[in-house]
């Protein structure tokens, strides 16, 4: 009996060790998608971020892992997918390197850029003057609108009805301030990620979720008993986050984004992730970084 138990334990340890080895191979292919080799290898001036990334053969990009349809980890394939990922791929392809995705939460992504954990942030990040003090932004690649999401049977019709109700948004996002201004009597529930907001409204522990319309649309795609109400609270231009002061890299990212918008890839991506569900068409944004920054002042 005694030896039996010991054998069982040894078996468990062995199984764990084996599993560990097995996992290594799998996840290596799972989290990094092989970039299509850039047809014509572009040359970059030595000393630029682009040359450095080319040298390392990889770029680390902070994206959302739980915000469909922008950045979402698919448990079946292990890959991260979404609109932000399409933009990220375009940038990595142009560099001719492999993109490596790490999860950027609303309250750590600025830090990721500052300390170099990520080379680039593409995580539904709104361009604001306040953030612009800490990091640099690319030209806007998407313009979202702030809206409110409620349950299908809710009596909340607009932002005015939020008084005394529980509203969920992400810690460190722009909506914390927006809601304090537009619905000062609402009770804020600040969580780490929007998937927690979705869980909270589904389980009824909050009455509403407020954030960008496209993120809310992603929630409706997952649960069609939810609905959008009220008008547009804010305009939220998304920009790629770049380390403060890296002008060459910003110019490069702007150039790739401009091409992404003009050559049809933007429209295809929009339709794939949003349009096919909402049956709406949208043109690539024309707003400039200047306008976006003015908006937040």
């Amino acid at each position: 009996m005694k030896t039996m138990r010991w054998r069982w334990l040894a078996g468990l340890v062995a199984a764990l060790a084996l599993g560990a080895c097995g996992e290594e191979k799998k996840s290596a292919t799972a989290t990094t998608t092989t970039a299509a080799p850039a047809a014509a290898a572009r040359e970059f001036a030595a000393g630029t971020t682009m040359a450095k990334l080319r040298n390392e053969k990889k770029i680390t990009i902070g994206v959302k892992f739980d915000v469909p349809p922008f950045g979402f980890k698919n448990p079946n394939s292990g890959n991260v997918e979404g609109f932000d990922i399409d933009v990220a791929k375009a940038i990595a392809d142009e560099l001719g390197v492999t993109p490596k995705y790490i999860e950027a939460l609303s309250d750590n992504r600025i830090q990721f850029l500052k300390d170099g954990t990520a080379d680039l942030i593409l995580s539904t990040m709104t361009i604001t003057a306040e953030r612009d003090q800490e990091i640099d932004f690319s030209e806007p690649y998407f313009v979202a609108k702030g809206r409110i999401l409620v349950k299908g049977d809710s009596d909340i019709k607009s932002v005015a009805d939020l008084d005394g109700r529980k509203v969920c948004t992400a810690l460190g996002s722009t909506y914390e301030q927006t809601l304090k201004k537009q619905a000062p009597k609402a009770k804020l529930t600040l969580v780490d990620s929007y998937s927690e907001c979705l869980e909270s409204i589904q389980n009824g522990s909050v009455d509403a979720v407020s954030t960008d319309d496209v993120i809310l649309t992603g929630m409706i795609i997952q649960d069609d008993t939810l609905k959008l109400v009220g008008g547009e609270l804010t305009t939220e231009p998304y920009g790629a986050g770049i380390k403060e002061g890296d002008k060459e890299f910003k110019a490069f990212v702007d150039e790739v984004i401009a091409k992404f918008k003009s050559d049809g890839r933007w429209a295809a991506s929009y339709n794939k992730w949003i349009g096919q569900y909402t049956k709406e068409q949208q043109q690539p944004p024309t707003m400039t970084l200047e306008e976006a920054l003015d908006l937040s002042k």
Binding site: L16, T32, F65, F72, P75, N76, N108, D115, T117
Partner: protein
Amino acid sequence: MGYLFDPHNWEWLVTGNNARFLFEGFLVNVQIALIAMLFALVVGLALALARLARNRALSMAAGVWIDIWRNLPLMFVILYLGLALPQPWRDAYESAAPGFLPEALRTGRVFAALLALVLYNSAVLAEIMRAGILSLDRGQSEAAAALGMSYWQRMRLVILPQGLRRMLPATVSQLITLNKDTTLVSIIAIEEVMRHGRVVTGVNFFGGVPAPVLQVFLFIGLMFLATNLALSRLSRRLEIRERRRIGTTVKPISGAEDQLAVARVD
């Protein structure tokens, strides 16, 4: 009860890649726990020796260090290091991390998590080791001194081999606590079982079977329960063997959260 055992609510477990995905996440937790434990033991021993040193200043400094890290919430330490650990440190880790580790364990953020776990657990283990060493009969040290051994000889040849043996069971139960604590690193976005659990509960975006939160996290809880029960069996067995060997009764040291208390010698 109907909701809990409704087979429809458990269907996710056998469809798609869900069960495997959760298990893979769980392995990351176990590996983080093992690596952190290894380093915590080394650092803990150094701290315990410093605390017991005859040099007053060294002993005091070690004591303050131990008390600070022991009394801060681990959640706090993880969050802070996750946000504030300097990049060169992360880079150093990324380039030093051996290739056989899974991808999830080779990112710089894991270094922040490991550092937090080691800082906290080494402080706890240092206290346990100190108690183990102090629990030895003074006569042992005196007899060794009478034989002409130096301080370090006494430590190395007489005190440590016995003291460390006595704390083996406590170390295994600390591993249980550590294993549970690895769930906290999910907050700094390390791809372990809690994150995988959250992803699985959202699989219906990709047209999968709905995976209810209650069932998914019960399943995760069961994985921890099974592993930790095995560990606590092991700990108890070691303890009984030790007791038989020394012939005295070591105070029973059970779960990690109270073992600290039992090990405290004032």
